[in-house]
Symmetry: C3
Subunit: 372 residues, 3 copies
């Protein structure tokens, strides 16, 4: 963790408590699960993420907790590896399944059951993908959430007792449709229109908030602070990802309302965090590579949204998963990039520090020049 | 095989004849191919499956035989492994391609050629998937059928000389559509309506019959008996899968006509057989796990049906393949479950017996307590 | 290379120049990149391909060069393996991304930027697929182009500053639509109608031209000559693939206008070249197998076209990629076929010669009779 002095000691005493006291251990595990939604294996980050969600919506906060508990409990009951569980790897998909289903379906008792089953299944899919991807040492990212939530959401048309919210609206794509490019809050009605500082700030921060479906500027600010608590590099790339996506969407003429609400941003935020120092060692080259991925994720988001538009279903974080897999699978195939083994993925700071030590060491086999 | 006494001796003398007499050997191979549609490597089960199909429809019986012969012959001509052929692994996808194409396309000479080509290609796809999945020791299931039949069916709109049946009906999904939840035989018209014993029996048995597109109560009964001939555990899970799917679909408010005709059941039947004692050793935990898969397959079926509804195409057994892959890929990643190597998949009974012997043996490395 | 005498000496002196002179080396690399669109690692073939494109359209020629330069440059900058770059493996997807985007989107400055980004990303996707497929020693084929171009094309509906050409036209599939089977140039208007020699010639040659989106008889002729320069076997299979697809589409009652313009042919051309002597050693059995793949690709093309019709998007070469993967993944699983390791894929002629030497050698383990 990129902290020092008093915060560092607080973090260490929390870690000690989490090891000794089972109740604190469970709490620690759950909070790390929330933090892992954005690759931050840090309970304080997770706690602040929850604060950010609850600030925006009690319902989504509750759904997040329900999914988190169900997916983590399923991992315990099925006997998944304890170290993986403790790192929150069976929590983050449950959080997203919980919020995602509550976002697109009306809340009632049946939906609560649906979320519990879905979150438990996301744990099974997570383990499936861990095994499936292990020959390449590739991460599952949020694919378990996407797959599970897609199946549960697509099904909604067929079941009378599940009710979609008005966000589920099928639409046949039509090349003749004119895209409204003016940046604004609502398609109809008042409010400042165009490239104002406020509108850009909304697009920028909501892009971070939308990673967990939170269409709220303040939530975006809290999320950035939450990441900053754990890693300055990850916080910087989260911000860069959102900014780059905003600019790319504006340059291509994306829908101004969608941009305002951060819909082009959240996949780019995740791509930028993942590729900006976590799965590749941070260098100038890997930083540019991560930003290229953020740019590409804007097209990928639009593409998957279009593909699903005839059935009116959301892209979720599939653009992030697809883009990051495509950009990460080259691994050591590009000499300009230094891939990080999954077991070594901690924080961008410590990965970079470890790499510098190895590169400078007497038995270094990689070229030190690459690291700059 | 879970038989004893006279039936056992009959089975053994048939096996001896099949080895000595090439004609009996071919017949044995073909019948096992039919049995493998539900994982039953047993010629008598295969024969009873054929009886069940012919009881419902001569046309589908003929199409099944045509596909079976073409896919098995292709495996011989291409030089596939003889042991795999003898176990019927190149027959079951051909059976399903044959019935599936005859179910959704009008029958004529061109369709017969189409079935032959499709069944032969299903053998190629089977071998492709065997190689593709071998790093994880994962089974291809009916994916060769699904992939091949999807490509051949989707194409039908583009070809004047192939005619879809009225079952091919594109429909744009619409959240405002009201799902008719009352259990009944026909959307329009007479007959008992609601949760009557007869309606539930139809849903239950047709669910088993629909595994091979047979919308017929009697066929479902014969199929269950056919499985019972080979394995009581598999028969029990086939029944449990159909029942669990029926209840899940009712609980979610599925279309009453679809439930009556077993459309929510057939994927669950296959999931329950596969996970209930075949690919995981049967324990209380794996039994519950298999039933969770059956529950999830109900949503997966609805989801894939919705996804394909704009082009009016059927889900086939894709929900089964997807759900079973997701639930099986965790393999040894969950300590609560004991995966079975593909080479050891025989009957649920002998797998369980073998596991108990190993667990009790002096060199046992797994925990005996897990098996109960 | 299948040349002798003076041409052989010319080829050798070119190869020497390409090694010594960096400028010639770059030119050689770029031309091989064009040749690799149809698996021909030969700069003269690449040059003739470019001639064929420019004969049809300056715009597409320019787009091809732009994509070629961007994808190859990206490979250099990212530090991909130099030998792979020199063999043109990071050029062909860029060529196709360039033409493909220019074919379906109106050309302007923003599109040029879009092509550059897309071509660069195709290099990343190529390296991703090389790693992904390496456990099976399977080729990426044109999958990087298909994936990248699909994402960039699907997105077009969402961006005001990108304009689709009239080729992007969503259409809900309808079983009641009557397919017009008469072979003719235009759906409306004059010109010879039916199975005339001229119409068949158009369908045959345009099928070859359409591999690179060139709807032009002369371009198809030039492409065939270009392949012939490098390999008689590949040229023969390109021709056979186009002819077989033409006949299959006619037999199934495909749209006469689509057949005239070679739309059923281009995927079959690529399947036939790939499987006809390159990835399997050429024998009578593998030749028939390659032609079966060509037949199947006709259905696969129609299927993928239908699947994408609600969003009005093109199948590109996905039918080729899917069919060839399905037919190649069996590898050594079929004794009737002799797979070629990726590292040994050169020309069909030299592969066959090398196989004959091995088969005839004293330490031969395969049966010589198989090779005839």
């Amino acid at each position: 963790m990129a902290v020092a002095g008093a915060p560092r000691r607080a973090a260490e005493s929390w870690a000690t408590m989490a090891q000794r006291n089972p109740a604190v251990g469970v709490l620690d595990t759950l909070l790390r699960g929330v933090g892992q939604v954005m690759f931050q294996n840090n309970p304080l980050t997770g706690l602040l993420f929850l604060v950010g969600i609850f600030v925006n919506s009690l319902k989504f906060g509750g759904a997040a907790l329900l999914g988190l508990a169900a997916s983590t409990l399923a991992a315990y009951l099925l006997g998944a590896d304890r170290a993986l569980i403790r790192n929150g790897l069976f929590g983050f998909n449950g959080v997203l399944v919980g919020i995602g289903l509550a976002f697109f379906l009306e809340f009632d008792v049946l939906l609560a059951v649906y979320i519990i089953v879905g979150a438990a299944v996301s744990t099974i899919v997570m383990m499936a993908l861990i095994n499936l991807l292990s020959p390449w040492d590739m991460p599952a990212l949020t694919a378990p959430f996407v797959l599970t939530a897609w199946l549960l959401l697509f099904a909604v048309y067929q079941f009378a007792f599940l009710t979609p919210t008005e966000l589920i609206a099928p639409l046949a794509p039509d090349p003749a449709t004119v895209v409204q490019t003016e940046l604004r809050e609502l398609a109809t009605g008042a409010g400042a229109v165009g490239l104002t500082a406020a509108n850009l700030a909304h697009g920028f921060f909501r892009g971070v908030g939308e990673v967990m479906f939170q269409d709220n500027l303040l939530t975006g600010v809290i999320f950035l602070i939450a990441i900053l608590v754990n890693s300055r590099i990850s916080a910087a790339f989260a911000a860069l990802g959102s900014a780059v996506a905003l600019l790319t969407a504006l340059a291509l003429g994306g829908d101004g309302v969608a941009i305002y609400h951060g819909l082009y941003g959240f996949n780019a935020v995740l791509c930028a965090i993942a590729l900006g120092g976590l799965f590749f060692v941070l260098t100038w080259k890997s930083a540019l590579y991560a930003l290229l991925a953020a740019v590409f994720s804007v097209a990928a988001f639009a593409a998957i949204a279009v593909l699903l538009s005839p059935i009116g279903m959301p892209a979720l974080t599939a653009p992030f998963v697809l883009t990051t897999w495509l950009f990460l699978w080259p691994k050591a195939g590009f000499r300009a990039l230094e891939p990080v083994a999954l077991a070594d993925v901690t924080t961008a700071e410590s990965i970079r520090a470890g790499y510098r030590v190895r590169a400078a060491g007497p038995s270094a086999t990689s070229e030190p020049g690459e690291a700059t």
